[in-house]
Symmetry: C2
DNA sequence: CATGAGTTAGGACATTGTCCAAATGTAAAA
DNA sequence: TTTTACATTTGGACAATGTCCTAACTCATG
């Protein structure tokens, strides 16, 4: 992006990620960009609008990753999770201010509601496919709901816990920890071939971190 | 509490819980109390100091609940979790701004570090007792670490997820949902008698909500 | 060159947390 | 009772924030 709007978005994401959305003022952002505050408000009437645009970028990036895969394997499922986690690192400022943003920013809140409904349905469908394909042994709907609920909770808040409790670890190490957690969550319900894929993925299969 | 300091703390907690720490200004708090802003800063030099005091109250309340019980049962463990969740509802403003507070408030962050270390150790010890007493069947340390890690994550962030996704439910219903989640998490490792206690607790045993 | 839409600059505004000096209240000492 | 010393409360100042508005500038098009 070479235009002003794009520059604002890029630098805002960079600074928000480093120091937190609430702690980066528009004047400081403007100063770093060598422009005036009024110029930012020309493109984004409010700071919320700027944050909303970033949340849309994350949403779009996730949409390219999360879909119902008819031929999903346990390895594929974990890779999908891995890719989502990597996206979340890129937009970590949003997830670290998750509750705050959702309470304040009506735009983001409204968009999230619909996105999240689809997302949970997709995860649920994939878990169902894994069961149908002999990767998971689920006795009833409650077991499936439990897995989906827990995976959703972990996926939403792992980065918040990591920021507080595992700040000394790299993003890649943090992701490894929470992928391991997800894997352990699935293991009691995993068939033999699924267990092999989980153990294999956790020991060698992690995707490369972002640049 | 009839003194000014106590009144400030009580009303602040009430308003923070209702509308969020970030959205209640000191002037509004002072106005509701019928005092001046400077009077608040006399007792709490900064807003962070006020928040820190509230976090100490939560810490103290939890300390009375969370301890290593030599004769712990599965029912007792779930009751302990239930009591912690009820405490968290009382101080939900702190948990909803968890990451935010930890990033900004050095006092709270420092206190939390040591508290959390002890707390995780205590939970881990109780899980160990459950295994020793024939409630849990843990094959290795990794299984125990997994349970402790996941329980810690859920216990820290359930209220944040509930505020966003289950705002239409009462606190008691929210707690029921996350106690069920914790129960389901334990079930694959639970012995027969533990399974009975879990199912029994989830169907009838939930503690009453706060007034 | 002139026009007009798009863009940028600069400053005003209300609100926030913080800080301070003066005024007031209170309770023990003289 | 009066004085003194300390605790409490007041009222306003301060810098920083997000938001808003008007004037100035840029630049392709007629």
């Amino acid at each position: 992006m070479t235009n002003t709007r794009g520059k604002i978005l890029d630098k805002a994401l960079e600074m928000f990620n480093e120091r937190g959305i609430e702690y980066v003022g528009l004047r400081e952002l403007a100063a770093v960009l060598g422009i005036r505050v009024g110029n930012i408000t020309y493109y984004f009437a409010t700071k919320d609008d700027l944050v909303f645009e970033l949340s849309q970028q994350l949403s779009k990036a996730n949409a390219e990753i999360i879909f119902v895969d008819e031929n999903i394997t346990m390895t594929g499922f974990l890779e999908m999770l891995n890719r989502v986690y990597l996206n979340q690192v890129k937009f970590r400022c949003l997830l670290l201010s998750f509750v705050h943003v959702m309470e304040q920013n009506k735009l983001v809140a409204a968009a999230y509601k619909t996105t999240q409904r689809n997302r949970n349905a997709t995860i649920s469908a994939n878990i169902g496919k894994l069961a149908a394909s002999g990767y998971l042994d689920l006795k009833n709907d409650e077991e499936q709901d439990f897995l989906v609920s827990t995976l959703a909770l972990v996926s939403r808040f792992w980065i918040s816990e990591a920021a507080i409790s595992f700040a000394h670890l790299s993003s890649q190490e943090q992701i490894r920890h929470y992928l391991r957690l997800a894997g352990n969550l699935l293991i009691p319900y995993a068939t033999a071939k699924a267990k092999r894929q989980i153990r294999d993925f956790l020991s060698t299969g992690q995707l490369a971190s972002i640049s």
